[in-house]
Symmetry: C3
Amino acid sequence: MDKMKQAQTTLKIKTNRQGLFEITPMVTEWLRDCNVNAGLLTVFCRHTSASLIIQENADPDVVLDVQDFYKQLVAEGNNIYRHSSEGIDDMPGHIKSTLTDVSLSIPIMDGSLVLGTWQGIFLFEHRARDHSREVVLHVMGQ
Amino acid sequence: MDKMKQAQTTLKIKTNRQGLFEITPMVTEWLRDCNVNAGLLTVFCRHTSASLIIQENADPDVVLDVQDFYKQLVAEGNNIYRHSSEGIDDMPGHIKSTLTDVSLSIPIMDGSLVLGTWQGIFLFEHRARDHSREVVLHVMGQ
Amino acid sequence: MDKMKQAQTTLKIKTNRQGLFEITPMVTEWLRDCNVNAGLLTVFCRHTSASLIIQENADPDVVLDVQDFYKQLVAEGNNIYRHSSEGIDDMPGHIKSTLTDVSLSIPIMDGSLVLGTWQGIFLFEHRARDHSREVVLHVMGQ
């Protein structure tokens, strides 16, 4: 049996609107080069107004409905929040980040992530303007 | 000190209603056979309309109240969502999954999970019909 | 390359009100003594009415707005919940815990957590009375 090893990288993701950006292909491509047969992948978002979710990547309507739900749940507007200097989508973005995920842990079995048939990994951008986001990948295994 | 090792398995859980199904005994039983004294357990749900939470497993009213909260927060109904072909409980299930957890990471100390006195691990089923769900367990430690 | 190693500890945090308590300094101080250059930190909250989030620690208004959002989202009151014997802030606390995080996984690169510029780790206390909370830290790496 091989010795336990680890690898890490930082993905850079350009976003230009609020919504969900699938990063599964970027993740699996990097993971292929790591040659880990059994182990654990951690995905970590380095931001407080963007976050991570795992959701269905088959019907594109699903992520649009997810996005609309959060838009209705967390109101945008003036005079709602103390923290408002960075725009009306800023504080709602912080809140949406706390409702979703900053880190995800996904086991690797037989050389592949154990994602279910319909599961994709998404960056959830909560800001309307252009952003460059960093997502750290860390894998440990053998 | 022993060498670092890892083990993995897939739990199959039959569900027949919306709500919370405790899986702590299945998890701890498998973990006992792994003989890990110090390490990290990851629990991963392979679905997009079922998820995971850790909650109180002492008073059964707690999980019923949790379930009711999510039922009120995420409306079921026709004409609310674009993605509606799989039933009125489908898109709400996807949303509830993003509000709760797809993965949980629990340290192991002195041979046991560090779960608090009242903490149990639950599969949160968001669909009304019968389903067979898969939850992957991964442990790394020594 | 050094051999893979791990370390664990339990932080004790006194809380005396509902709200967010930053624990980043306690975490990074402990981590410094672990001498891990590359690895994975797991933060785990051993409670069902307190939880964890990562959020902006620059403008203190952000965490106040986060707290207010959850207070409005999850109503406190009599006759709303089945589980009410431990006070009106108890069941809402359980629900807020499921909406936020019980565990966080943060990679370590070049000897430091990969937290973004604005990210701090917070214990989210959902109960109004004094509590002593336990947060377990687990690190694995080399």
